[in-house]
Symmetry: C2
Subunit: 191 residues, 2 copies
């Protein structure tokens, strides 16, 4: 590693990834509105102008952060696409989802904080979350269709609980995320 002072020149892809990683942490901590362009730059040891060489604008950076998160999730999504049926299988899929979140606290926080911020229709990520969450609910509802008496109600209930649990876990890390999930699932998946 070269001395911390002075200029560091990195290949395009590497620097891009470094910026996105840092930006994810910052947004997770303070929301998108709460972080300035300069703060994003400083977090990876460069200036605003330097950062804007990689992303055309601040909003552009946000979109890139979200797309990166999607890419990181791709593995899980692919797994979920396997056609599953029955309560046990559904529960297993969701449990794996919970376990993965447990180890990606900052990504979860990014998503949670940003999703709440983006309730505002004027937020640059409003549409992103709108379509994305709608799709998620539809997929879940579809997988509940084969065995649950009220797939619509149940899908909303499950997602609401997970959203709320994440939110509370972020507020208070002492909460036992996994145990809470199992406790909920014990009742939910015996209907």
């Amino acid at each position: 590693m070269p001395p911390a002072t002075g200029r560091r020149r990195l290949p395009l892809a590497e620097r891009r990834e470094e910026i996105l990683k840092a930006a994810t942490e910052l947004i997770a901590a303070s929301g998108f509105k709460g972080v300035t362009l300069e703060a994003f730059a400083e977090a990876c040891g460069m200036t605003k102008a330097g950062l804007l060489h990689h992303f055309r604008s601040r909003d552009d950076l946000l979109i890139a952060v979200l797309e990166r998160r999607d890419e990181l999730d791709l593995t899980t999504v692919v797994d979920t696409l396997e056609p599953v049926s029955g309560p046990a299988a559904s529960r297993a899929v969701m449990t794996r989802f919970v376990r993965r979140n447990l180890g990606q606290r900052s990504l979860v926080q990014l998503y949670t904080v940003l999703a709440a911020e983006a309730i505002d229709p004027a937020h640059p990520a409003h549409d992103y979350f709108r379509t994305r969450l709608r799709e998620g609910r539809a997929m879940l509802e579809h997988s509940l269709l084969s065995w649950h008496p009220h797939p619509g109600l149940a899908a909303v209930e499950l997602l609401a609980f997970l959203d709320g649990l994440q939110l509370n876990w972020l507020r208070d890390p002492d909460i036992d995320y996994l145990a809470q999930w199992q406790s909920f699932a014990d009742r939910f998946f015996t209907a």
Copy 2:
């Protein structure tokens, strides 16, 4: 009513209330970081300087908004203080809480958006939510103590579900808030 143009001079208490009401709506819509001092002022037909005559700073206004919300909730809190015991009584209390929220969408949104924004320790309302939510959970846990086998788990679960349901209801008003609650409660209060 005097003509809309020109200066309107109101008694202190009245203007204060008007400002707080307008601010509540705005914060609910766009979060606290998302609204400028001038926007707050303009919303009740005055200038920044005029508003700052009533609230020393922008952060001061936020605190006042939250305190006002607490006062508006006081009635419900007092009701809750009646010592209740048993699942049916607990459920009745919570159902009343849900029903009341149903008619106060903008207050719910204020609380939800702000609570998520305030996960950031640097947010001006961070401490407010920290203590307030902790208290709420303790109260609930206490009331579950007499009949629920796992009061700690259950308290978190119930609050998480309500938080998440509110969040999703705000994102998608078509969700049947009340029905979702009843469906959850049917399982939750038979343990």
